[in-house]
């Protein structure tokens, strides 16, 4: 029952993020251990679809990796340039390149390999794992598939019900064993 509950939590978390750009759906791995069924979650690694946006500082990651904004990592590449030239997300957190927070002029361009060119000069580089490319003017959409998650919810619900029935059955057997086996007629 605990496993089914955990699967439901993951499915609802995924569904809640159906429109979060850069979100990678979580998948559950159920394994049988000493303490019963254990549920592990991990982020699925499939690539999200790329949606063009016409904003020059929107960045989509093609391949594994993440952007560093402020002090944490994200795959959501919705950035814009603020009044002082910092490249920031919608919460005003700064995007970091290899040489620290990125500060550019309005005409700057970010190439597929992560190099940031400003006025014809390379000013910084967004660190990317080998094989990963960037696409500017686009965003990676969430990889959540609402139909699949709805199915996961229904499955978890039924599994929960089955587990409950099984527990009641076990309870019934034990009740019989405890009360009826040694009853004197």
């Amino acid at each position: 029952m605990r496993a089914a509950r955990a699967q439901l939590d993951v499915a609802t978390h995924n569904l809640a993020n159906a429109v979060s750009d850069g979100f990678r759906r979580l998948v559950t791995r159920v394994s049988l251990g000493a303490g019963g069924l254990a549920v592990r979650t991990e982020a699925a690694t499939e690539q999200g679809a790329i949606r063009p946006t016409d904003r020059p500082f929107d960045l989509a990651l093609l391949g594994p990796g993440a952007f560093r904004v402020g002090d944490h990592a994200t795959r959501n590449g919705a950035f814009s340039r603020d009044r002082d030239g910092w490249v920031v997300d919608d919460r005003r957190r700064r995007l970091h390149g290899a040489c620290g927070a990125l500060r550019v002029s309005a005409g700057a361009a970010i190439a597929a390999d992560g190099t940031v060119r400003d006025g014809g000069r390379i000013v910084d580089r967004i660190p990317l794992p080998a094989g990963t490319h960037l696409q500017s003017g686009a965003l990676e959409t969430s990889t959540v598939n609402p139909i699949g998650e709805t199915l996961a919810i229904l499955t978890a619900q039924r599994a929960f019900e089955t587990a409950q029935k099984t527990m009641l059955a076990i309870d019934g057997t034990r009740e019989k064993a405890a009360n009826d086996v040694v009853r004197l007629k």
Partner: protein, 237 residues
């Protein structure tokens, strides 16, 4: 259950923004908006989603020829500077009409800053470089004013004042006025209007997606509720 509730709230925000975009899809100079969402997690436990923020989409709209007597459009970046009393605002909507006192006014009552058409002008037009030229009985093509546009360090930070008007803000930085028509720079198109940059097809797709996701999230809440009910029935009466 609470993760699903955050998902429903997010889809509602998404629907509100897309509905606002669609409602203004026919308004000249309107710029759409978009919200960004991000997941909320406490370690490995997913807690749903939250709105990271919203931003204006300032991409150029298509220019189309219009029937208005004093319609102008900006081909490129920048904003018209408009004034009402001592207030100043910025807009991409160039639907102006000539008033009796010579000023050029839009439907909301804002005047195009720095431009006044003389009373004896028979016709007036704006050149590519912002020069306002009139034909009078004595002289054809007499320049009477210079139209200037405003640029901002971060135009997405402008504060919206209704559908197509914006005010300068801390985030946008101060307005810098410039003369249009430079090579490769923004230019004025007279007799044209900029259509809104909202794509109706894309908005409809967004609405359908938001609606489906909203329903699916509701299903998540129902399932969590059902599980609690089943758990409560574990103890046989």
């Amino acid at each position: 259950m609470y993760a699903a509730a955050t998902g429903m709230a997010a889809q509602q925000t998404q629907l509100e923004i897309v509905a606002d975009n669609l409602a203004n899809a026919d308004v000249a100079g309107f710029k759409g908006a978009a919200a960004t969402f991000t997941e909320v997690r406490a370690g490995a436990i997913g807690l749903g989603t939250t709105v990271l923020g919203r931003h204006a989409l300032l991409a150029q709209g298509k220019l189309s020829r219009s029937g208005g007597p004093f319609d102008i459009a900006i081909d490129g970046a920048g904003f018209f500077i408009v004034e009402r009393g001592s207030a100043r605002a910025y807009t991409r909507n160039g639907e102006f009409a000539r008033q009796a006192d010579g000023s050029l006014r839009n439907a909301a009552g804002w005047n195009l800053a720095g431009v006044r058409i003389p009373a004896d002008a028979l016709a007036a037009r704006v050149e590519r470089d912002g020069r306002v030229v009139v034909d009078t009985p004595e002289q054809r093509g007499r320049p009477v004013a210079q139209l200037r546009l405003a640029a901002f360090a971060a135009p997405e930070g402008l504060r919206p004042l209704g559908a197509t008007l914006f005010a300068q803000s801390e985030a946008s930085g101060p307005a810098r006025s410039f003369v249009p028509g430079a090579r490769d720079g923004p230019a004025i198109a007279f007799g044209m209007l900029e259509r809104s940059n909202v794509s109706i097809v894309e908005s409809m797709m967004q609405i359908l997606g938001a609606q489906r996701a909203y329903e699916a999230n509701a299903k998540g809440i129902q399932a969590a509720d059902e599980m609690l009910r089943i758990a409560n029935n574990l103890h046989r009466s």
